[in-house]
């Protein structure tokens, strides 16, 4: 405040003027391009680069004017502003612009190009059995996160204990996370689990499973996809939980030990409640990643058999890549985004309440 008041009024108003002018320039360019693209004007600009350049000019002038108007505080704002403007350009704008595409019929092979079609895509999506099937599968995949969490917690406890070669195990457990899910789907899903020559199929035969087809029946395929995905992502959960375990104050556990609490009692009454905040973060983050599941499914089963392993993302991928159905694919993606936002909001809300109740106890 003190610095800002030292700034001459002329400089302040020059900064303000700069913002106004470049904002006007940006608005005018965009409006001009919209009119040109819709055929009201007939300049026939080949692309939208003028709007992009106007945005860059506006973005730079925003930075300059911040310094001009607010001095030291403006300098500080410069640390944040480029990231913010970049996010607006690369994340927020495409998401909003996506709605414009979502309400249109746009098949890349269509003769008429993009056509506004109101709520048609939404209606189609509502009646699309592939979408609902994928969504149902997602509930299974998301529900499995609790099981993954339990596994990860157990492994984290082991890695936190005084075991031999602890450092080696910590690194070893991290390795799957370093692999690309695409590589995992090929290495494991399509090689190790290959019906004829895959070593895992060989082992299964040895154990008495005559026809170890890992991806040919719905539930077996679903569990195997889940296993592949969990194998990649468990280390991520383990790291978070392990960090939580190591940050936990030792004196509480020692006091519990003095009081005679050990083993299960100690875990259930001391460790688990203390780990709740970390656990919640871990689960929520993992759910967000789980909702994006696509690569392993696309590579290993293409959503089959008969849609049993399909995910919403792999469904959208097919609409987009194989069928060039841009309008409908975008609508599916936007609706899925909204469903995720609502789901996560409710989840966080419930978790918040649960945590407050726990704290009160």
């Amino acid at each position: 405040m003190g610095h800002a008041s030292l700034i001459p009024a002329g400089r302040k108003s020059a900064g303000r003027l700069l913002i106004v002018l470049t904002s006007l320039l940006l608005a005018a360019t965009v409006i001009f391009q919209i009119l040109d693209a819709s055929g009201v004007l007939a300049f026939g600009l080949p692309d939208w680069r003028p709007s992009l350049y106007a945005y860059i000019v506006w973005a730079v002038s925003m930075g300059i004017s911040q310094v001009m108007m607010r001095g030291e505080a403006g300098h500080k704002a410069l640390f944040l502003l480029p990231a913010l403007l970049f996010t607006i350009a690369m994340v927020i704008f495409p998401t909003v612009f996506g709605f414009y595409i979502a309400f249109s019929e746009w098949n890349l092979s269509s003769f008429d190009g993009q056509k506004f079609n109101g709520l048609d895509n939404l209606r189609t999506l509502y009646n699309d059995s592939y979408f609902w099937n994928a969504l149902r599968n997602m509930t299974f995949y998301v529900a499995s996160v609790l099981l993954q969490y339990a596994l990860a917690f157990g492994l984290a406890l082991l890695l936190n204990a005084d075991i031999r070669a602890r450092k080696f195990f910590r690194v070893a457990f991290l390795l799957p996370f370093m692999l690309s899910p695409v590589a995992v789907s090929w290495m494991i899903g399509k090689s190790l689990m290959e019906f004829r020559f895959g070593p895992l199929a060989g082992l299964a035969r040895h154990l008495g499973w005559e026809n170890p087809a890992f991806f040919a029946t719905p539930w077996i395929a679903r569990f195997n996809i889940l296993a592949l995905d969990a194998w990649v992502w468990l280390p991520f959960m383990i790291i978070l939980i392990l960090a939580g375990l190591q940050a936990m104050p030792k004196d509480i556990q020692e006091a519990a030990k003095v009081d005679g609490a050990a083993g299960w009692t100690s875990f259930w009454h001391i460790t688990f409640p203390l780990m709740l905040p970390v656990s919640v973060t871990t689960i929520v983050l993992r759910i967000i990643f789980q909702l994006k599941l696509a690569d392993i499914v696309i590579n290993t089963t293409s959503g089959g058999p008969g849609g049993a392993t399909d995910t919403v993302s792999s469904f959208i991928f097919r609409e987009y890549r194989d069928r060039s159905n841009v309008g409908y694919g975008t609508m599916a993606a936007e609706v899925y985004l909204i469903i995720i936002i609502i789901f996560i909001t409710i989840l966080l809300n419930l978790v918040g309440r649960f945590m407050r109740r726990e704290a009160a106890q």
């Binding site: 692309d47 019929e105 746009w106 098949n107 890349l108 092979s109 269509s110 003769f111 008429d112 190009g113 592939y130 290959e194 019906f195 004829r196 020559f197 026809n211 087809a213 890992f214 991806f215 040919a216 029946t217 719905p218 395929a221 290993t300 089963t301 293409s302 959503g303 089959g304 058999p305 008969g306 849609g307 049993a308 097919r318 890549r321 194989d322 069928r323 060039s324 159905n325 841009v326």
Partner: protein, 554 residues
Amino acid sequence: MKVEEYNQLLGMQTDRRSLLKGAAGVAALGATGGLGSAAVSGSALAADSLRASILKIPGVGKGSPGDAEWQKVGEMCLEATKANVKPGEFKGVELNFMGLNNQNLHNMLFRGFLKPWEAYTGAKINWIDLAQADYNARLQQSIATKTVDFDILEMGAPFEGDVCGKGLASVMPDWVKKQIDIEDYSDYLKPPVGTWDGKTYRVTIDGDCHNFNYRTDYFSDAELAKAWKAEGHQGEWAVPKTWQKVNEVTKFLKGKKIKGQDAIGYLDPAKGWGGFGFYFLEDRATAYVKHPDNKAWLFDPENMKPLVNNPGWVRAIQDVIDCLPSEPADQLNADPGTTAFQQFLAGTGSMLSWWGDVGSMANTSDTSVIGNDVAFDILPGSDDVYNYKTAKWEKLASGPNVSPNCAYLGWGVYVMARVDADPKKQKAAWSAAAHLGGKDLSLWMVMYPSGMQVHRNSHSDIAEWVGAGYNKDYITSYLKSQFGSYNHPNRAIEPRIPGIFQYYSVAEDELAKVFAGKMTAQQGADSIAAAWDKLTDQIGRENQLKLYRASLGM
């Protein structure tokens, strides 16, 4: 020729030197050069000697050719260009060429072939190299966003609807037709393929079709023959010539053993493959639905109503459902890549339809265990054929109905309409395309690794192949299977309408449900038909109908 095929052909044949020593070699050389024939003209002799000379670069069996060889061949084949273009005529012209870089072939070869052309004409070519997986998306986005940034395009015939149908390609001038001797193309690559509304657009550089690959050891196995008789099957134990027999053999083999291993019949890919999997249902269906009297087999050419749910198609789908229990236990998760490379070449299964790659990789691929026990033929036929016009199954007087599936139709070179505004640039682009698709150059391409298959009648001259160093018996059988499919009068030709792979892809999704037992064959076929109808409306029914008819030459 595809690399694998080239390697395999080399592996199959006898030593070239001993071959040339033999009388067959002498006779072949004589035939190639037209020696002793007083009737041949001087230019024909020169052409023949040019063909014989380029085929010696580097010589079949003398290592893989590289950039130096490609440039040399390009240089030697320049005569046709020189007849139409003056030296330096295209000075200052720059052309963008978009094509593939699969296996370091395609564009890599084209660069070498066109280097001497650039030096002679003065034009300059900029290259846009694409991986196969990026090709469709890049092309469709360029079209949809009106950002076509290339002048010459290497493209498969299925995309002709998207490009030629939308007026994006330049019409081939007559001098180009003459220069490339367009009449020499195999029948199935002649119009309507490469044309739209009677206008020619494509310089063909490749051919494609699905063949029938089978295991010779299965069909010469005495135990199986005995069991076949004992179970009361009609006819001898032999390679099936109809799909009815393929199904019968497949079910018969369930539970049998061959060389101590489980015997398996035909291999159906029950999992989708980005749209390409639908070709394999077509393989079964064409014999049932492609009536010799009708050109159409996928859509009704009167109204674009899908034919995919007629009794012929439903029978093909039902065949797959009925055969799957006799096929490997993981078949529901097997796409065409699995059936070919993890099953058939690895020793599982005895019958498979595929592109030419499989038959030829049997000997060269490290993962292949079937060695010389493989042979190939045109696709099986059917005892009866469904005539959608009379809505009846018919038995033809000529015997089983055969309809080889000419899936994909190979690569071609196209010139984009954006060069038409500038006559000099237009001529330059067409001259480059004509050079690549030249008659002599094409012979070299199909004999050496290039990614291209035989596609001209002149490629069937056994003497030229033998003269270049190929084994006569093997090349005869190889060419017979290729040209037998290409030239079949009832061949099924790819409907080159816009978005054809969208139709295939949506069908794959429905078929996956059918094969998983969630729907009957008829329900699945009806769902495909409904989805296709919707897609046709989305892309534009009237235009689709027009283009479909054009693609059938109607």
